[in-house]
């Protein structure tokens, strides 16, 4: 079945479902997205939306913002029903947020943060990068900021003085571009995104080299506000997320996202991040 006909079929199903459903069923479920994955790929976004429409039987509105902070803010104030956030902002607002599910990547709900440099750069570790320029992904990103900053802190150095210049590229792909293009010497990037990029844009990642990988940390989770956990929209969404690997649309979306499935997770998954947060906040 081609993409077009499949979309048409989905639209028909959605329309039929909407016609037969109560009024709330026509209100779209809003899912906030952060650049924890290949958020620049329209195809991926569309497939994910289609799979969730199929799974929930309701219209899905995927809400993207430039920064994690904006999406987190939207979620906290009720602008979206749920969000695919990084573990770091989840822990920052752990008191108000609840886990919906954690994606499983390469068999586990875990990922790593990569420290990358230009392909020709002789650096072999973080300490070699002192005094250089560095690209972070987002100030609220675990892999794109917290891991590197906490590593610097653990080395006993001041994160704000370690690099001569730092910048936020707001997206892991952007970090990879900044390093590949030579804008900065090094970058902190989501290992999952970098690996996914290596599969779809090998020419880009080939111009970078991973010199350090963090320990395995909790994969960016789907979260919602604690008070919304029982909302029909949220429960419907959660069921759809868990059921992604059971429908053809879901499987296609997972294939594009290079994920296995989404499973229920526990906050203890993010203990590694919690530990790094403590290290940084302690300074």
């Amino acid at each position: 079945m081609t993409t077009q006909t499949r979309r048409q079929a989905l639209a028909l199903i959605a329309t039929a479902f909407a016609a037969a459903s109560p009024a709330w069923a026509q209100t779209p479920i809003r899912l906030g997205l952060t650049p924890v994955f290949l958020d620049n790929d329209g195809e991926v976004i569309e497939r994910l939306r289609a799979a969730l429409v199929r799974g929930t039987g309701r219209p899905i509105e995927l809400v993207q913002r430039r920064t994690y902070q904006e999406v987190t803010g939207l979620l906290l104030e009720g602008g979206v029903d749920a969000a695919w956030l990084c573990g770091f902002p989840f822990l920052q607002h752990e008191a108000r947020l609840a886990l919906l599910g954690v994606p499983v990547w390469r068999g586990a709900p875990l990922y790593q943060s990569y420290l990358i440099v230009g392909a020709d750069d002789p650096a072999t570790g973080l300490s070699d990068l002192r005094g250089g320029t560095h690209a972070y992904s987002d100030p609220d990103s675990n892999s794109g900021w917290l891991v590197t900053v906490s590593d610097i802190v653990r080395m006993g150095e001041a994160p704000e003085a370690f690099f001569a210049r730092t910048l936020f590229a707001y997206g892991h792909r952007n970090v990879t571009r900044a390093v590949a293009g030579g804008l900065t010497r090094s970058g902190s990037v989501d290992g999952y995104v970098w690996e996914a990029l290596a599969a779809v844009e090998p020419a880009l990642t080939a111009r970078t080299r991973v010199i350090s990988r963090s320990e395995r940390l909790g994969f960016p989770p789907f979260v919602t506000r604690r008070e919304a956990v029982a909302d029909p929209a949220v429960t419907t969404l959660q069921a759809a997320i868990f059921g992604l690997n059971t429908s053809p649309e879901g499987q296609e979306a997972l294939r594009l996202l290079q994920l296995d499935r989404v499973e229920a997770g526990t906050p203890s998954l993010f203990d590694g991040i919690r530990s790094r947060m403590r290290d940084v906040q302690g300074t």
Binding site: L167, R177, A178, L183
Partner: protein, 476 residues
């Protein structure tokens, strides 16, 4: 340059003019090519200016806020995406600097690192409204201010790849060169043929004149160009001139020929008297013989008288004949030649009642190297001229001296001296004025022919013309 000019001048006209025409064609071709190339450059530069202005304007809109915030990533992201979008083929590098000249970001950060000084990159950058494509440089740099919200917030330096434009211009230059060379060669060759064809009659005229060796002969009418062109008129003028020159030469030749007889002609009346005078006595003698045939003494006296008269007549006739005998040309001068002259000249002196002073003091051996006919011609002309100048009861003199080196002839008269016209004839080569005789000019020609000289002097109311003829001069 001088040698080239000289070499060019030594070329025949039929080659020189086509060469000059070809040279002019080359010059025109070069100027035209230059014009085309500069027009092409102007078009290319205008295109580049528009492109660069669009590029900068677009970037200014997109980058303004980011530059204001000094947002390195935003600036880089915009430049990187703009490069990837296609304009990168022309824009090789774009650098955005803040108003202090520090690089915020560049499309290629390796060439222009963040926070580096933009100065070296801005060096040689041209403002957009004055973009020029100079030389064979494949890249040029432009610089423009980055204005946002009405104020300058930074600078944009862009490196443009103009290799295709340079190549296009070079190709156009080569095509023009090839085309112009071919056209110039063709036109020069055509010009050469046309010029040669046009100048062919001139070459023919020059060739004809070259063959004449001093004489002018008309060009046959078949060789005269058709139509009433300048060249046809030139040929006709040449033919008219050559005819006139020929006629003049012929007239002069006939005049000189006649002059030899003119001097004798002038003596004719005297000679007639000379012959007539004794005739009465001779006739009387024949009457006497007839009347006194029986008186031997009377007959003898009459016969003697008859004999003397006839001998005198014989001498006069011989002298006259000798003067004009062509078979004597080349004969050496003898004392008898002076006697002949005296015989011929004395009747003229007698007729005019003049006094003749005649002195020939020369050895036979010293006379021999000189041609008789030439000397006799010279002397007879000068003596007749002297007699005419001296007038009635005047005096005429001849003094001849000779040594082994030269023959000196001095003719004197008591006349008023040589007129300007006579002097001009005798001493110069100026054209002979009409109205006068050619005797004195003949003397000059003969003396010059013999390698001699003529002096004219006036002393004691006597005109003296001295002719000196070197021994061994040109034989007559």
């Amino acid at each position: 340059m001088g040698a080239l000019t000289l070499r060019l001048q030594s070329l025949p006209l039929s080659l020189r003019l086509p060469l000059i025409a070809a040279g002019l064609m080359v010059l025109v071709g070069m100027v035209a090519s230059q014009q085309v190339l500069s027009a092409l450059s102007a078009v290319q530069e205008e295109r580049l200016r528009e492109l660069a202005q669009l590029h900068v304007d677009g970037l200014a809109v997109a980058l303004g806020p980011a530059v204001l915030r000094r947002d390195v990533w935003e600036v880089y992201d915009t430049l990187d995406r703009a490069t990837a979008a296609g304009s990168g083929q022309r824009m090789v590098l774009t650098v955005v600097a803040d108003d202090a000249g520090r690089v915020i970001a560049a499309s290629d950060p390796l060439r222009a690192p963040v926070d580096s000084d933009v100065g070296p990159l801005a060096k040689g950058a041209q403002p957009i409204d004055a973009i020029r494509l100079l030389g064979a440089e494949g890249h040029i740099r432009i610089a423009a201010d980055l204005d946002y919200q009405g104020r300058r917030v930074g600078r944009i330096i862009s490196e443009l790849n103009v290799a295709d434009l340079v190549a296009e211009r070079r190709a156009a230059g080569l095509y023009l060169l090839a085309g112009n060379t071919a056209a110039t060669l063709a036109l020069a060759f055509g010009g050469y043929l046309a010029m040669r064809r046009m100048l062919k009659p001139v070459a023919r005229l020059a060739g004809h004149m070259g063959r004449m060796e001093g004489t002018l002969e008309p060009i046959p009418s078949t060789d005269v160009p058709r139509g009433d062109t300048e060249l046809a008129r030139l040929f006709q003028t040449y033919n008219t001139m050559s005819g006139a020159v020929q006629a003049k030469t012929e007239a002069e030749r006939r005049l000189a020929e006649r002059e030899r007889f003119v001097s004798l002609g002038r003596l004719s009346s005297s000679l007639a008297h000379e012959i007539n005078n004794p005739l009465g006595g001779l006739l009387n003698a024949t009457d006497t013989i007839r009347t006194y045939a029986d008186r031997p003494a009377v007959v003898r006296d009459a016969a003697d008288l008859l004999d003397r008269g006839l001998r005198h007549l014989r001498d006069v006739a011989r002298a006259t004949l000798d003067h004009n005998r062509m078979d004597r040309s080349g004969q050496p001068l003898r004392p008898e030649d002076f006697d002949d002259l005296a015989l011929l000249f004395e009747p003229e002196v007698a007729r005019l009642g003049q006094h003749l002073d005649w002195a020939v003091q020369a050895a036979v051996a010293d006379l021999q190297p000189h041609p008789a006919v030439l000397v006799r011609q010279i002397l007879l002309n000068l003596l007749l001229n002297a007699a005419a100048a001296a007038g009635g009861a005047g005096g005429v003199g001849l003094y001849v001296a000779a040594d082994s080196k030269a023959l000196h002839l001095r003719i004197s008269d008591t006349g008023p001296g040589l007129s300007d016209a006579a002097r001009q004839r005798l001493l110069t080569d100026d054209p002979v004025q009409p109205g006068g005789g050619v005797g004195l000019r003949l003397v000059r020609d003969l003396v010059r022919q013999a390698g001699g000289r003529i002096d004219v002097a006036r002393r004691d109311r006597t005109t003296e013309i001295t002719v000196v003829l070197p021994a061994g001069g040109s034989p007559c």
